[in-house]
């Protein structure tokens, strides 16, 4: 019933808050009945793919929830801009954005000791209203045209969903170009420094981390290549990316500690100017890349651990079944 739970969770998200539990309980019973009826017809338990089809036929979660929100508020000017299922979220986000934007505007003006006019507040508020409304209108339009796949979040179903070829191909293209650039930078520093290549040099830190980073990039490309050839090996993606991101996360601290990354070349014609450029490069690498990169890797580790869990659970179940069967066979023999 892992799939059913996932489906009901997705529907629940869009239901009216006060009736969520009640509606979900009733939907659960209805779907159980349908599953039971189908199982009776087939004379066996439903396979995951059959259960998935049954739930897909029932409707995408947003559409199912929308039927319970027919009389709820929506934003309509001639045609529906924001539907009733998105409207509560729209109000929350709009309220949050308005409060933050107006609050920060007031704080900044107080800090700068500038006179704060009503027009400034009105303009700030208007921009927020327009941006948030436009974003939700586009979201509404997309949702209507392309119903949300009900397997979101897909962790529960990850074992059944093949990796889309476009996903592997785009990854291979992007990371191959980046890997090539990374490989060539030590040989052709102008790929990084441009016209300042004569004045700057890569610091030892760059060479220290060259191979670990190249290996991580190669591992990412290898995973995508394998999944392009074997899309059904869906466990490879989360597990390999979990490992890659965990290793990358581990590298962050020594990389930050290895500052600086760019030095002034011995043969620099204008040393003072070259130092300024080197400082700019070092600052960009440290504050523009490394300082937030660890957050990216940390989030990626958490996400891919979440995606890897169902694969691990399924593997343990299979292993458990295999052991039990072996014990039964041994018992018979």
């Amino acid at each position: 019933m892992e799939l059913l739970d996932s489906y009901l969770r997705a529907v629940r998200r869009y239901l009216p808050r006060s009736q969520r539990d009640d509606i979900v309980a009733e939907l659960r019973d209805e779907l159980h009945q349908q599953i039971d009826t189908r199982q009776e017809e087939l004379g066996r338990p439903l396979r995951d793919t059959e259960e998935m089809k049954l739930l897909k036929d029932y409707g995408d979660p947003m559409t199912v929830a929308r039927r319970y929100r027919q009389n709820d508020r929506s934003l309509t000017i001639g045609w529906e801009l924001i539907g009733p299922e998105l409207f509560p979220m729209y109000l929350i986000i709009l309220g949050l954005n308005l409060s933050l934007a107006l609050g920060f505007t007031v704080l900044i003006f107080l800090y700068l000791r500038q006179p704060l006019g009503l027009w400034v507040l009105f303009r700030t508020g208007l921009i927020q209203v327009l941006v948030v409304t436009l974003t939700f209108t586009i979201l509404n339009l997309i949702r209507r045209k392309y119903p949300q796949p009900w397997y979101y979040p897909p962790a529960e179903l990850a074992t059944m969903i093949p990796i889309a070829p476009w996903c592997s191909i785009s990854g291979i293209c992007i990371w191959s170009v980046f890997s090539l650039w990374w490989t060539l930078v030590p040989v052709y520093p102008n790929l990084l420094f441009g016209s300042a290549a004569n004045s700057l040099a890569l610091a030892p830190a760059w060479h220290r981390f060259f191979w670990p980073i190249l290996l991580l990039l190669a591992a990412g490309i290898a995973q995508r290549s394998v999944n392009l050839a074997r899309p059904k090996w869906s466990s490879l993606l989360p597990i390999s990316r979990l490992v890659i991101n965990a290793v990358a996360l581990g590298l962050q601290y020594p990389m930050i500690k290895s500052f600086p990354y760019v030095l002034v070349a011995g043969a620099a014609p204008d040393a003072a100017h070259a130092k300024q450029i080197a400082d700019a490069f070092n600052g960009t690498i440290l504050w523009g890349v490394l300082s937030w990169m660890w957050i990216y890797h940390l989030i990626s580790v958490a996400i891919y651990a979440w995606y890897s869990a169902p694969h691990l659970r399924r593997w343990l179940q299979r292993r458990h079944q295999a052991i039990r069967m072996t014990q039964e066979i041994n018992g018979v023999l």
């Binding site: 509606i23 309980a25 209805e30 159980h32 009945q33 349908q34 027919q70």
Partner: protein, 126 residues
Amino acid sequence: MRHTVYLVHYMSNGTQNGAEVFENLRLELRRGCLTLAVLTQLRTERYGYTLRKALADDGLEIDEGTLYPLLRRLESQGLLVSQWREEDKRNKRFYRLSEMGTTVLQQLLYEWGRINSSLERILQEA
């Protein structure tokens, strides 16, 4: 040549609109009938699945996505009462007509009969 293109375009649009209009009118007609059918069936207590089966057995197919929100609306209007109870080791929500629902159903059935006989007379005249 240009005239032909316009004509074909007009005809294809006209046909599509006709189908759409019919579908909208059919749904409108069905909506009222479904409410009446559901209220009539719920003179006996039932839960969603058995109600849907009973309606389908009588030739009135209704999908779950329509039935459950309809049941909720009727309940919020005070025409139905519901109760959660365990049956076959599962919690089910049983619906039945409320007192007010019984009165409204009688009025609706009377109205239905009146419309039906008027319509039959009109059709015979036609």
